[in-house]
Structures are given as structure tokens and as C-alpha cells.
């Protein structure tokens, strides 16, 4: 006998997707993350565009994490042109990323996932949740304020260019952010305690967490690719070890790591970053974690909200550090001559490693583009975790299983708009080539 447990349309996630669990004769026979987000073909229309367009266009893949796309692309382009950015510009890009981590994480923790722990359908559906939602909106606003200060607006900021920024803020103009950040940082330490006190339900356990690492600081714009099972690779080598594949129920390609003839799923994102980089967190945050009884590593993916709250706190702390130490650069950007070549780069988007690879011609125009967003890396892993959960809860009511499945998916903070833009490396020849 065959039974389908379907969620046609996931809510409180970014983008359009659903999930189907198929149960045949009492055992789980299939789990499909169905992504029906309409394809937009970014990699195709990037061909023949100048390098600045790559930065502006890829930002439009995602309205929640545009900075991530700008950062991965600008660094790849600068690698091809052999441009070295100045130290203050490096710090400003980190500050810009702090703004995006805060804004994106606060949205997810307080407006999208938070209501799950209170049995609510939205962040404004219950009086008891109002103060929690308002805290989230305060955090989110401060993240947006950082983005606006550095890039003019929170969604698709305009200031990032090859070699640096079109213009950079003065020391004086950044200073007013400090008192707000100090207040928010103090509040975020309390939020860490709140996140650890939530009821996570029955755990599901992941085995391989992957993030950037091997750096002296918590990773954002650079690093090697490391994992909890001992992987330590350059981004190029990591890209070479990923197998991407198309499935007939999704406009997003799935991916896993090729190993000894099999393809195994893995997880990227805040929980991976935390598990692999927690010793780089400042003391204040580490003691707040200790007081809240958080012990690392965390293997239960349903507890990823804790990692997000910790990273909000870290981003506040890091933003204060950067602003206090900031010295205006002599010039906002370095001069360069466009040149041809190939480069791969990855940065830590709010949802995990975002890989870009470009081939440019001698004038700096795109010949080929590859974009692998974090959510498409996580899709196969989500299916595996839902399967693990369904196998141990096979006797549950369909409604219960459906609700819990949605909650598990939400704990990944999937960005489905992003995921529908991944592409395969060994692509079939088309007339665009």
C-alpha cells in the first residue's frame, strides 16, 4: 500500500517549494524536496556582460542575501585581475557582511522560524510573541542600518565595485551606529539564553558539517573549506569534489560530495560555521553560551536557531570592533587593468558557503559562470534528515509528520529563490557556448 504525505507549498521560507514523503507498505520509500521556483537562467544571461554587471546582477538572485552574491563575485573577479584590496576596504566588506548576517538571521529567527516554537502561524499571530518579534525587528533594523550606511539600501546595495567601493564612509559617519550596537549586543547575549531554552522536539543528527575555516577569525570573506570529518581543501578542490545532479521534481540541482563511488549529502550554514569555528568567538559570547548550557559541537540540526542567534551576537560585536578601529582608506578603490582568466571564490552567506566561478575574457567580460548557492548544497541533506525522521516516526499521524517535516526544513533556513540558480559544471554544449 502506498501513502503520500504532502506539503504542497512551504510557508515562512524564502521562495517556492514543497515536500512529499512516500510511504510504501509501512516503510519510507521516497522523500522529495520539490522546488518549483521558476528558473531565471542567471548563468546564461551573465555571458557577455562586463565584470561590474556580475556584481550587480548576481545580487538580484536573492533579496535577503544580496551582499553574499556581491562578495563572492567581487573577490573572484579581483582574483582574476590580480587586484589586492586595501586593509580598510577589507574591513568595510566584513562590516557590510555583518549587516547582512544580522538582517538575514534576525528575519529567520524571529519572523520565520520563531513562531514554530510557540505554535503560531506568523510572528504577529499571538500577543505572547509580540515582544520577541519586536526584539527581532530591532535587530533586523540595525543590520539594515549598517547595510544602508555602507551601500545605500538593505536590498541590493549599490556601493560594491571591483577593487573596493564606489565610495567609503567617513570615520565620523560610522560613529553614531556604536551606541545602538552596544545596546543590541547586550540584548543579543540574553537572546542566546532564550534560544537555548526552546523546545526542539525529537532530535535529528547530522554527521558532516562543512564551512570555511582555517582562518584566524570567524570566517566571512575567505578561508579554506573544512569539515567535521577532517576535510581541509582549497575552494577549487572542494568544487571539484562536489557532484551536482538534476532531479525531475525540482528546478534546483542537488549536490553531494563524491567519495569512493558514492555521493554523500552534507550541511552548510550557521551550525556548520559554529561547530567548526566556535573557538574564535569573543569571550563575552562564549561565557553567555556557557551560562546558557550550550555545549559544542551541536549535532542536532533542529538546534540551528541557536547558531543563528550566536552569530547575530557575533556580528554586533564584530561591527563594533571594525567601527572603533576604522581608518578611512586613502582611496575607495584600487585601480586595475581588466584581464582574462578563471577564478573560483567562496564566502560565507548567511545560509552557508556560496561558491562562484568565473571565466573572463581579456576585457573582463564573462565567458562562463558557475554559481553554487548554499541551499542547493543542503537540499539532499534535508531529504536525508526528513527520511531519518520519518523512519523513526512512521506510526505518527500524517498531520503530525507534515508539521514536523515543515519545522525541520525551516530549521535549515532554506533560500529557495537562491537554490534555483545553481548550475552544473560539465554542462552539455549549447549554442550559447
Amino acid at each position: 500500500m502506498r501513502k503520500l504525505i504532502k506539503t504542497d507549498y512551504l510557508s515562512r521560507v524564502e521562495g517556492e517549494g514543497g515536500v512529499v514523503i512516500e510511504i510504501t507498505d509501512g516503510s519510507v520509500s521516497k522523500v522529495h524536496m520539490r522546488i518549483f521556483e521558476a528558473p531565471r537562467f542567471f548563468e546564461a544571461f551573465l555571458k557577455g556582460r562586463p565584470h561590474q554587471d556580475v556584481i550587480d546582477f548576481t545580487a538580484r538572485i536573492c533579496g535577503i542575501c544580496p551582499v553574499a552574491y556581491q562578495m563572492s563575485s567581487v573577490h573572484a573577479i579581483e582574483k582574476i585581475f590580480k587586484v589586492t584590496i586595501s586593509p580598510p576596504v577589507r574591513e568595510l566588506r566584513r562590516l557590510l557582511y555583518c549587516g547582512e548576517w544580522i538582517e538575514s538571521h534576525a528575519l529567520h529567527v524571529y519572523l520565520l522560524q520563531g513562531p514554530d516554537f510557540y505554535g503560531l502561524e506568523s510572528a504577529w499571530a499571538g500577543r505572547e510573541y509580540l515582544e520577541i518579534a519586536k526584539r527581532g525587528l530591532r535587530f533586523k533594523k540595525l543590520g539594515n542600518d549598517i547595510l544602508t550606511m555602507l551601500g545605500g539600501r538593505p536590498v541590493h546595495p549599490v556601493s560594491v565595485r571591483t577593487g573596493g567601493f564606489f565610495s567609503v564612509p567617513s570615520r565620523k559617519s560610522l560613529a553614531p551606529l556604536l551606541p545602538e550596537l552596544e545596546k543590541a549586543y547586550a540584548e543579543s547575549l540574553q537572546a542566546i539564553r532564550w534560544s537555548a531554552s526552546l523546545d526542539f522536539g525529537d532530535p535529528i543528527v547530522a554527521t558532516e558539517f562543512i564551512s570555511l575555516g582555517n582562518t584566524t577569525e570567524y570566517p566571512m570573506n575567505e578561508g579554506r573549506v573544512v569539515s567535521t570529518t577532517g576535510l581541509d581543501a582549497s575552494i577549487e578542490d572542494f568544487l571539484g569534489s562536489i557532484q551536482e545532479y538534476q532531479v525531475d521534481y525540482s528546478t534546483a540541482l542537488h549536490s553531494g560530495i563524491k567519495r569512493e563511488g558514492t555521493v554523500s549529502p552534507y550541511i552548510v550554514g550557521p551550525l556548520s560555521r559554529l561547530n567548526l569555528n566556535h573557538e574564535k568567538l569573543p569571550d563575552g559570547i562564549r561565557s553567555a553560551m556557557n551560562e546558557a548550557g550550550i555545549s559544542l559541537p551541536i549535532a542536532n540540526v533542529r538546534m540551528a536557531i541557536i547558531a543563528r542567534v550566536i552569530e547575530i551576537s557575533y556580528a554586533f560585536h564584530e561591527a563594533m570592533r571594525i567601527i572603533r578601529a576604522y581608518d578611512e582608506p586613502d582611496r575607495p578603490y584600487e585601480d586595475f587593468e581588466p584581464s582574462g582568466g578563471v577564478a573560483t571564490w567562496a564566502t560565507e552567506a548567511p545560509r552557508g558557503i556560496l561558491i562562484h566561478r568565473y571565466e573572463l575574457d581579456g576585457r573582463g567580460y564573462v565567458k562562463a559562470a558557475t554559481i553554487i548557492p548554499p541551499t542547493s548544497q543542503n537540499l539532499a541533506h534535508m531529504e536525508k534528515m526528513i527520511r531519518d525522521f520519518a523512519v523513526t516516526h512512521i506510526g505518527s499521524q500524517a498531520d503530525h509528520l507534515r508539521k514536523e517535516t515543515e519545522k525541520i526544513i525551516r530549521s535549515y533556513d532554506p533560500c529557495i529563490s537562491c537554490s534555483a540558480h545553481t548550475i552544473i559544471i560539465d554542462r552539455r554544449k549549447s549554442s550559447l557556448d
Binding site: R12, A38, R60, I64, V155, H156, S159, S167
Partner: protein, 254 residues
């Protein structure tokens, strides 16, 4: 008073414009005293489509399924408005309108037959009547609040249709086109962003689409005088509002 019901609908897009609703932040909770957000997948669990006083549409129409859905949403909405470059002009993905979608599919997917996409990405107004259009990539959140409150109060929203240059002059920014000789789309582009790019020492790249009566070819001629070749100047227009800029040029040419 019964609060008017608002529905927020997503088609082909990046989510950035509907995020502007949540970016209203603490004002959002004030706004919720006056409106009832009754359908909003990104923030609310509610599966069934009902009737709405105002429907807000993000995203372009680019698949068969969406062509049917937008008609149903129109029928269920007393007023319907588009938000952002995708819904209002077809978006960045409308670049495929000047190419072959079959080639695009083959380029991106190993099994292109499994992917359903129309040959063109088109604005919502090509499919159903719209009561109001809000331009921008992304929209300005204050303009969204102004438009919603105006529709509810039965007055015309105060959103500019004049060129970016007007606002740029009022801010006292030295003209990027005249003083630096850089190709700026300000003269043919709608105001509304707050003059962001010129404030950051950057030429406008057209997030808000063509202003009313834009004389695009004349501006492109000026860019050529500055030393750009024709092909380069057209690339400047072929961005998030490519379909709208090209249509204005075609209409002028008629």
C-alpha cells in the same frame, strides 16, 4: 472598522520587494492596526486563496502555471498593484526575451526538458489590468507604505514619475554625466530611489525604469559622443528594466 485584507503574492523574483514589507520593521506593527495581512507565504501559514481588498504582486510572469494564477488573483482582488522591476517590467530574467529560451535551458540544466519556462518573462500588466505599479529594483519601502495608505484613503499616491536628475539636482550633487563624462541613466530614469548611486559617486544604472517621456536614443547618442560604442550603450539599458526601456525606444521609433 474592519481592517482591509491584503494579499501578497510571489511570482518569478528574488523576494527583495516583499521583504520591503517586513523591512518596515517597527512601523509594520503600527501598520497592522490598519490592515490585515491575510495572505503572505513568506511570513504566514495560510494555504487557501480568498478575496482581498488589495493584492500586491511581486515577480514576473514566466511559466504557464503563473499565467493562470495571476488571472485568479486578479479576480479575487479589488485593487491589484505590482511591486518591483520583475512585476512591473519583467525583471532581469527578461534578458532572455532577446535570446532563445531553449538555449538558456540547455546551458543551465543537464536535462532541459524537465524545466518548464515560457520563452519570455513579462510584466504582470501584460496579462491582467493593474490599478497601480510601483517601480524599483528593489522598491522603496516608504513608497510602498505611501501607496498602501493612499489606496485605502482613496487618494492618488505621491510617487514621482519625473527623472532622477530632478532629485539629484535638489541634493546638489555634481552631474556625473556632465562633470565626469560617465554614462549615467539618470536623465531617462524615474526618481524614487533617493539618488543612491550618484550619492555614492556612481552613475545611475536604472533600477527604477524609464521615466515618462524618456528620450532614450538621444541619451545613447550622447554616450557615443563620449566614446562608447553602440553595443556598449545598449548593454547599459539591458538590465533589470530591459523590457521597459526597449519598449519605450520602440514606441518612440514608431
Amino acid at each position: 472598522m474592519k481592517r482591509p485584507r491584503i494579499g501578497v503574492f510571489k511570482f518569478t523574483s528574488c523576494d527583495g520587494c516583499q521583504l520591503s514589507i517586513l523591512n518596515l520593521e517597527e512601523d509594520l506593527f503600527d501598520l497592522l492596526q490598519f490592515i490585515n495581512i491575510a495572505y503572505f507565504r513568506e511570513a504566514l501559514d495560510k494555504a487557501q486563496l480568498k478575496e482581498y481588498d488589495i493584492g500586491i504582486v511581486e515577480g514576473s510572469i514566466s511559466t504557464d502555471r503563473q499565467k493562470k494564477e495571476i488571472v485568479e488573483i486578479r479576480e479575487r482582488s479589488r485593487w491589484l498593484m505590482s511591486i518591483g522591476a520583475c512585476a512591473t517590467a519583467g525583471g532581469l530574467q527578461a534578458l532572455r526575451n532577446w535570446s532563445n529560451v531553449a538555449d538558456y535551458k540547455r546551458y543551465v540544466y543537464p536535462s532541459p526538458d524537465l524545466v518548464s519556462a515560457l520563452p519570455m518573462s513579462t510584466p504582470v500588466s501584460d496579462h491582467v489590468y493593474l490599478d497601480y505599479e510601483l517601480w524599483g529594483c528593489p522598491i522603496d519601502k516608504a513608497a510602498l507604505a505611501e501607496t498602501l495608505l493612499s489606496l485605502l484613503a482613496g487618494k492618488r499616491p505621491g510617487i514621482p514619475a519625473y527623472s532622477l536628475c530632478m532629485d539629484c539636482k535638489m541634493k546638489g550633487i555634481p552631474c556625473i554625466l556632465v562633470s565626469r563624462g560617465e554614462p549615467c541613466l539618470g536623465p531617462v530614469t524615474r526618481a524614487g530611489c533617493g539618488v543612491l548611486c550618484p550619492s555614492f559617486s556612481r552613475a545611475c544604472y536604472g533600477c527604477f525604469g524609464p521615466r515618462e517621456g524618456a528620450n532614450i536614443d538621444s541619451l545613447l547618442g550622447r554616450f557615443e559622443e563620449l566614446g562608447m560604442d553602440r553595443k556598449e550603450t545598449v548593454l547599459l539599458l539591458d538590465k533589470m528594466n530591459t523590457y521597459a526601456y526597449r519598449r519605450v525606444r520602440l514606441e518612440k521609433a514608431d
